[in-house]
Amino acid sequence: MRVRWSLLLIPAMLVFGVFYLIPMIIFALSSFHPDLGLGRSGDIYTLENFARFLTDQFYLLVLWNTAKLSFYIVIISLILGFPVAYFLARSSQKVTRVLIPILVLSSFVTLVIRAMGWVVLLGNNGLVNKTLLLVGAISDPIQFLNHPRGVVLGMVHYVLPLMVLAIMSVIQTIPRSLEQAAENLGASRLHVYTRVIFPLSFNGILATSLMVFSLNMGVFASPLLLGGGKVYVFPILIYQEIMAKTRYAMGAAMALALVLLVLFINMLSVAIGNRYQAPGRRAL
């Protein structure tokens, strides 16, 4: 019995190994070669790319800003996404049949098309600013485009459907009878949320948040299109290093540093999550 199940993994692992793992290893190794510029790299192994990256204030600052931005986006999309996920999880099929396709559809449209829509809506003469000016909520147009505000908005929009769908499936696993029991015992609605639903869905929320965080750390299309080159995130730096400066080894070193940082943050969060969980309810 034991052998048979593991055999089923072979095709998937083969494809994964050849098309993902091996290229990743090649890429990781290329970051240890000296970068000679113009797409050339030396044959010897060295840590100079990493040393250059770690001693450059600009790179580190951008990396820190990217992590901050990603964190804000996770928090905002949690605040927006959790109530919606709860609502959908507790709604009848009639409601979900209409709303879930909207969620999926909006997440399937490519980033470029979405960015185009945002540019039209959020420009200084766009619908949003015009409406706000008309009702007198603001006296000058709010700058969204070419500003971190627009980038955050675009990225929240990008990750929100994912967040909602993932958290929804977690909440669906919590029996409604637990909520009813809490209410019968005199808990207010707020208490039901904070004492029953939130602790029980904590693992799922943490896992989803980490996935969204990782996603944000690697996105460069939104910041590029909505930030107008004024919002520097780390993936844009990597993109420029490779495409504009053609420093492949340096770009690989920066990318590897990003991967390691993201993996480290994920592992740390899982460890923290496990500490605050009863045994047998481990995160991830």
Binding site: V3, L9, M13, F16, G39, L99, I102, L121, Y248, V259
Partner: protein, 335 residues
Amino acid sequence: MRRIPATRILSILFTMAVMVFLVSPLVPVVASSFSSSNIVIFPPEGFSLKWYPNIPANYWRSLGVSLMVAGLTAIFVCLLGVPATFALVRGNYPGRNFVRALLMLPLQVPLVVSGKVVDFPLLWDAWIFINCSKKPFDDVRVRQAIAYAIDYNKIIKDIERDLVLPLYGIIPQGMMGYNPKRFRYQRDVAKAKKLLAEAGYFNGFSTTLIYSPERRTEFEQESVLIQSFLKDIGVDVEIEKMAYTTQLSRQVAGNFDLAMMHFMAGTGDPSMLCHNYLPPDVPHGSPQYSFRWRNERVIELLHKGITIPDSPEREKIYAEVDDIGIREAAFIPLY
């Protein structure tokens, strides 16, 4: 009937607001496809269906290819993923959690890193487009004379400070179809003058060179250098500096003689670069068509090149396209 609690109403309103937020960027895009206006504004001006019949036939074919790729991917992923899921859930063997974590890796590794894995050669190119359908450039000898007049090494050494490689053809080094032994124009004033004389331009002629400094600041100096190179063979060049959008619209309209261009060829495959050679009226034709040059053999080769998989035969096709473009001096590759 049960009263709907206030929290329920609140959460309905909240959910609706989030849904509106999710749909909002798509609304102006969909709406402007029905707009009669040429620019994307919201709310749109006027209703029209004029854009839909204008979708080029090859876009529909691309849609078909996308559908096919998506369908095949889904089938393939199911064939691999479903058995693997059974193995991960039902199986009990050492290393199961490790395999599971490994398979989750692509979700955790930032997208830009996965993209890095697909590496391709340096593809920033600088060219001079020649308006091959306009007199006197419709004569291949005139175009060759221009190619012989330019001192490529001087441009690369003096202005680019040896940070770029000379190009000599449409296909850059490292791309499929690159032939290291391809023909190279080198500065040869006597030969250039002879070619001009054969074409009937004993005393040269006057022409214009357009460029946009915002595209590449080095063009400021390089255009002057090119002006002096062409002066040596009796061709008077008037340099016109303009905004990039103006230059593009003039190229699309064919309203230019010589035009300097700096751009990045989007992919590592030669087809994308070479398809610029295709006139707009043939399948996969380039809508910009800045070459204004038509060569039936090149059209035939390029149509064949995109239908066959990578092979020595395909390599030969693009090498031949490159060679024809060089011999015909369809444009001036700088670096």
